[in-house]
Amino acid sequence: MSSATATAEVEADHGHPETNSGISNNKLAMWLFLASDCLLFGALISTFLLYRTNISDNTPFSSAVDDVFDIPFTSLSSFVLLMSSLTMVLALSAVNRDDERSGRIWLLTTAFLGMIFIGGQVYEFTVFATEYDLGYSTNTWTSAFYTLTGFHGVHVSVGILLLLGTVFGTRKSGLGKEKAENVELVGLYWHFVDIVWVIIFTIVYLIPIG
């Protein structure tokens, strides 16, 4: 819009119209959203930090967090999510090369790894609820924990839908180089979700209380 007729040629060269910032509107919007989401997760993490010592309130056991968390299991699912970031960049790289087939495979792999992570989260929640009797309203810790990790899980799920949407929504139109920016945007979202988990994994699971 900034550039009505004057930049028609430039558009033709680059495939998108020139903007003042040199960043496409879509990409700028995505980054604005991610910046905004920092405040969202910040508030959820802060809530958790405020209540993180209250895990044994209103429960029969007097355990510390260490007894509840299954660190080897969570480490594995964290690793899976981390590696899904790799497959995501490989997908983008393939689409940039106009290698549609590899692009689709890597996108599907990313979605699959995301589903494994979500599966792990469902399993973890189930164990918490059944073996440790930690329901959503048991105490302040459980409310904060389930809400924080649940919000992250919802973000991952939305990411999975975006990935699948990108793969299956482009069956007719193709997933060529001209779609690279769409893949890139989905990727940005996906990596953001990943780095949020990097923080959650450290702050919620690893850092000792006290």
Partner: protein, 124 residues
Amino acid sequence: MAVTEPHELAAEDEHAHDHPSDSKYVQIALLLGFLTAVEIVMFVIEDSLGATVVKLGLLILMAVKFWIVGAYFMHLKFDSKILTGLFVFGLILAIIVYFVMLSAFEFSFWNDGFVDPGLPSSES
């Protein structure tokens, strides 16, 4: 949001296509995996390292992983500085605001014990 003229950015646009190669990405991912392994090791040998060292170490590793994913996988290192600025602004704002908020809770707990020393302390 520096004042940017469209034409200055044309050159920067070329940079944007300067992505690392696939093998470079794999190396980065291996590094991330390695850092995660170090985190877990630190967690396991917490007792011998001491809580402070572990806390500090884990936070540093967290920041490093965050930075690597942001800079390479999210291309911030190769993209317009405006994007880095926006994202880092949101990040730092979040850190400062919530840090102050949590400190305020600490201060108010601290205050509980100080102002009414004679009263039986209410469990908080």
